[in-house]
């Protein structure tokens, strides 16, 4: 065999070994091989994802992703982040999937890949009960301070619809805004209506009310993965189709979002 041929065979073998050896963190095959699905969720965001009174991770996002892990035959590892830390966590490879109530925006989609929506919500304005704000014009004034969540679509939408008001961004989660509202640091808050409604039971009854007018249209919420994880992305879409048709999806939403029964166990 000529030297040239030998070299090309060796090169070809080396390349096959090299390419089969490469696996991007977060692809489906990597996850199955590793035996673990790493999920990035928001901390302290009941009922989506939080640490319950037993010290365990619980919530709607946890149940969905636990179902995914079970279907893959792997363990689940839940990692908490502040809202503005979720995307950096996914981008830096710390997590395979981002499971939160995140809206797919074009800007975010430049960096990460969103799955099909698992829910739709609308952005709302909320104030203290009895504060006297009725319409958007009441809130859109220079002397009004509006609290939003750092890095959320609420932040962008608030700046768009309430340009005259002062916008203050809170790090952490949606509850930080409610907390700030009740403490008097802000006059109003802007966030997803579902997030606000599901957080209300944790605060004194009747202390918060949502304004009737919603901002913007219906906003979808989706899980996200890295750009390289094409198979995982498609798998997640198939997963949600599957659980919608077999009823698990409805059970999850009914348990976590539509009632407060879950508070007894968590």
């Amino acid at each position: 065999m000529s030297r040239k041929k030998l070299v090309s065979i060796i090169l070809a073998l080396a390349m096959t070994v090299f390419f089969t050896g490469i696996s991007f963190a977060g692809t489906l095959s990597e996850i199955v091989k590793r035996g673990e699905l790493r999920v990035a969720v928001q901390s302290g965001a009941a009922p989506y994802a939080f640490v319950d009174k037993h010290g365990e991770h619980a919530g709607s996002m946890i149940d969905f992703t636990k179902g995914m892990a079970d279907a893959m035959g792997v363990k689940i590892k839940v990692l908490d982040f502040d809202w503005d830390g979720l995307i950096p966590a996914l981008l830096s490879g710390k997590a395979d999937v981002l499971a939160a109530d995140m809206t797919p925006t074009l800007k975010r989609a430049l960096k990460i890949t969103f799955a099909d929506p698992w829910m739709s919500v609308q952005t709302c304005v909320f104030t203290k009960t009895g504060a006297g704000y009725q319409t958007l014009e009441d809130v859109n004034k220079p002397e009004v301070t509006v609290g939003v969540l750092l890095g959320s679509t609420g932040e962008t939408i608030a700046k768009q619809y309430l340009p005259k008001a002062k916008i203050k961004s809170y790090k952490g989660g949606g509850r930080m805004i409610i907390q700030a509202l009740l403490a008097g640091h802000v006059d109003a808050g802007v966030n997803d209506d579902l997030a606000v409604l599901t957080a209300l039971p944790d605060f004194p009854p009747n202390s918060i009310r949502l304004l009737d007018k919603r901002l913007g249209g219906k906003a979808p919420l989706s899980f996200a993965v890295n750009h390289e994880s094409v198979n995982l992305w498609q798998w997640i879409n198939l997963y949600f189709n599957t659980i919608r048709s077999n009823g698990d999806y409805n059970k999850n939403i009914a348990y976590w979002m539509e009632g407060i029964e879950w508070k007894k166990d968590h």
């Binding site: 963190a25 640490v51 830390g85 490879g93």
Partner: protein
């Protein structure tokens, strides 16, 4: 209302103990890594090699010139760009090690530099190698100068573990932060957190004061 919140706090108390345990773990491991690394760096910092001294000097300046919280964000979110992928707990340990060792390096270097040249010369003329000189003559004497600020630095390190809460490590401060949103009684929650920190810091502060008095003799 107060009683209601108080009872919920009592119910969730084990969670706080878990946080205290995590804080203690981080503190303990960090104290060891920082001390080891800090001593090595400090010895070289007070040594002869000018290049090494300069490099360590730059490292120390960076650590002392930037806030710890910024260092943590860099280690957690930026290192992955360079291929170093760390979860929250290891990232916290690394950040503590880098930060603490820089401060201990200066304490150790200061202690070694305070030893008079005569001691070095006497040790060398006794036929001891450099390592033996350090180990048997210089460092034991330097410890008198090093020990009080060192223990003081340990207290600071324990308190600095609270900052790692920003990358999600479930230590004592984070436990308080996560709890106060569900039990909005800030005074109660953080008084509890404060008391728990006090219980591990104050003994060390007393030790530091005692050492300061003893070493001043």
């Amino acid at each position: 209302m107060m009683a209601f919140y108080f009872s919920r706090l009592v119910e969730i108390y084990p969670f706080f103990l878990k946080g205290l345990w995590m804080t203690s773990k981080i503190a303990f491991i960090s104290l060891i890594t920082c001390t080891l690394l800090g001593f090595v760096l400090g010895i070289f910092r007070s040594g002869k090699n000018p290049i090494l001294k300069w490099i360590i000097g730059v490292y120390v300046s960076f650590v002392r010139g930037t806030p710890f919280v910024v260092q943590i964000f860099i280690i957690f979110f930026i290192l992955p760009d360079w291929g170093i992928q760390l979860e929250a707990f290891p990232a916290a340990l690394l950040a503590m090690a880098i930060m603490g060792s820089a401060f201990i390096c200066e304490i150790v270097a200061g202690g070694i530099n305070s030893i008079s040249k005569g001691q070095w010369e006497a040790a060398a003329s006794s036929g001891l190698s450099l390592i033996q000189q350090l180990r048997l003559v210089i460092i034991p004497q330097a410890m008198k100068v090093i020990l009080p600020p060192l223990v003081g630095q340990y207290v600071l390190l324990i308190k600095d573990t609270s900052v790692v809460s920003v990358i999600g490590v479930m230590e004592l401060t984070r436990v308080g932060w996560v709890t106060v949103v569900r039990i909005p009684e800030g005074l109660m929650v953080f008084s509890l957190v404060g008391i728990l920190y006090f219980s591990i810091s104050y003994p060390l502060i007393l030790l530091s004061n005692y050492l300061e008095r003893k070493m001043a003799l």
